[in-house]
């Protein structure tokens, strides 16, 4: 499953480590970049297009009436502002969320949880059942076929086979051919004596 991506822009090592620990405590998240230099924030956000940017207020003090103007219009990024002390929310109308250094653990975790569930709706992440098509691809892999052979066998393009394989690995948490073979046998997708 696609993870919810974060960039953390924070100069202080202590605070950055804390923020990263919080974000990493969710299984659905991934931190794709830590930024410590003001100059590079815009570049990285525009390039990596994360789901969220957590940014220290100090970095954007001048532009804080509308942070979006700092970045490309094409990004999907939502902005979480990190503030040293509590400030009223009206000041940050253009932010999607605010985390304060005074927030307690539960408060922060809840805020992040809500933000994540805005990206991955609940109930969605549980559907790890393989489709019939994917089962067929698993079968072919377990029989020892190459991507090209599978494509020919199932009348699909090699590209589609690769996409299926990616999705299968995402759903099952199994990547290697021998791992998928074990899965196929355990689930009676192939017989043990058919395995390559």
């Amino acid at each position: 499953m696609e993870k919810v991506s974060f960039i953390i822009a924070e100069k202080s090592f202590v605070i950055r480590t804390g923020l990263m620990k919080i974000i990493n405590s969710f299984t659905e998240t991934i931190i794709i970049k830590e930024v410590t230099e003001y100059k590079t924030i815009i570049k990285y956000v525009n390039k990596l297009n994360p789901d969220f940017l957590i940014i220290n207020l100090k970095f954007i003090e001048d532009a804080y009436d509308d942070i979006r103007k700092m970045f490309s219009e094409n990004i999907k990024t939502k902005f979480i502002i990190f503030t040293g002390t509590k400030r009223s929310k009206e000041h940050f109308a253009y932010f999607d969320e605010q985390i304060s250094v005074d927030d307690d653990k539960t408060t922060i975790l809840k805020k992040i949880q809500v933000l994540i569930s805005g990206i991955i709706p609940y109930g969605n992440e549980d559907n790890n059942e393989l489709s019939e098509r994917e089962k067929e691809v698993v079968k072919q892999i377990a029989l020892g076929k190459t991507n090209k052979e599978i494509a020919e066998e199932l009348f699909i393009s090699v590209h589609t086979v690769i996409t299926h394989r990616k999705n299968i690995t995402g759903k099952l948490g199994i990547k290697t051919v021998s791992g998928l073979t074990v899965y196929a046998i355990l689930n009676n997708i192939i017989e043990i004596n058919e395995a390559s």
């Binding site: 480590t17 099952l172 948490g173 199994i174 990547k175 290697t176 021998s178 791992g179 073979t181 074990v182 899965y183 046998i185 355990l186 689930n187 043990i192 395995a195």
Partner: protein, 245 residues
């Protein structure tokens, strides 16, 4: 906790028992009383700076040993990597294989489950052995040669011939992870294998896999971030020296 030369080794283990195999890998045996890292390293003739980097990196994920290790002789790092290979192949993998062979199911599927798990693991062991043997026979000795020649003042013709045929860059391009199949095995056991009659053995197997996986990951990280880039740098300079492309 940052482990320094003044830290008592007993304390290190109390604080993080996962470091035990790393410590024994250096040839250190137990019963070390109140000796600190400095004293232990002296006793066992271990390079203290290297030991501290490895042990701190294993102890704390945020500790990066890369810079310091890059500045130590590759020979030291490589000899540590060799010991890790031995530990994987001679201790850990046989142990896990043995545990797996003990799993039983009181169902008609018993034979099938046993046979596919064993087959999977034997195949994996074979892959690891091939990977490590290739490094031990081809890659590591070549890298040691590179370092030796890099430190020589004059050009060695035999090494010139070797450099015409071999390159660390080629190895770097095809260097795989060691632990991909372990990730698969974890999920197979946790999610897909029907529950066996031996929950205690399953628990041991999972613990062993989690440990080994981290050990292998650190191992591959050292190869990819220390040994390979340093060797490539040296190789490139040597190629220039020899006017080789």
């Amino acid at each position: 906790m940052l482990i320094t030369k003044k830290t008592k080794l007993a304390e290190v283990i109390h604080q993080n028992y996962h470091l035990i195999p790393i410590i024994t890998r250096f040839g250190i045996n137990f019963g070390f009383g109140d000796k600190n890292v400095e004293q232990i390293c002296e006793k066992y003739d271990i390079r203290q700076d290297f030991f501290l980097e490895i042990i701190n990196a294993f102890n704390d994920e945020d500790y990066s040993p890369i810079n310091k290790l890059q500045n130590l002789p590759l020979e030291i790092t490589v000899s540590y990597l060799l010991k890790s290979h031995q530990y994987f192949n001679k201790v850990k993998l046989p142990h896990i294989e043995n545990l797996i062979s003990k799993l039983e199911w009181t169902s008609a599927e018993n034979k099938k489950n046993k046979s596919i798990l064993n087959k999977f693991f034997i195949q994996y062991r074979k892959e690891v052995t091939e990977h490590t043997l290739h490094e031990e026979n081809e890659v590591y000795p070549f890298i040691i040669e590179i370092e030796k020649n890099y430190n020589l003042s004059q050009n060695n013709i035999d090494f010139y011939r070797l450099l015409e045929k071999k390159s660390v860059i080629k190895y770097a391009e095809t260097h795989d992870e060691l632990n991909t199949s372990l990730l698969d095995l974890k999920n197979i056991i946790i999610k897909y294998l029907p529950p066996s009659d031996n929950i205690d053995i399953t628990e041991q197997i999972l613990n062993e896999i989690f440990d080994l996986e981290k050990d292998m990951k650190d191992h591959t990280d050292i190869e990819n971030s220390v040994v390979i880039p340093v060797a490539i740098k040296m190789e490139n300079k040597l190629r220039k020296r020899f006017n080789l492309k």
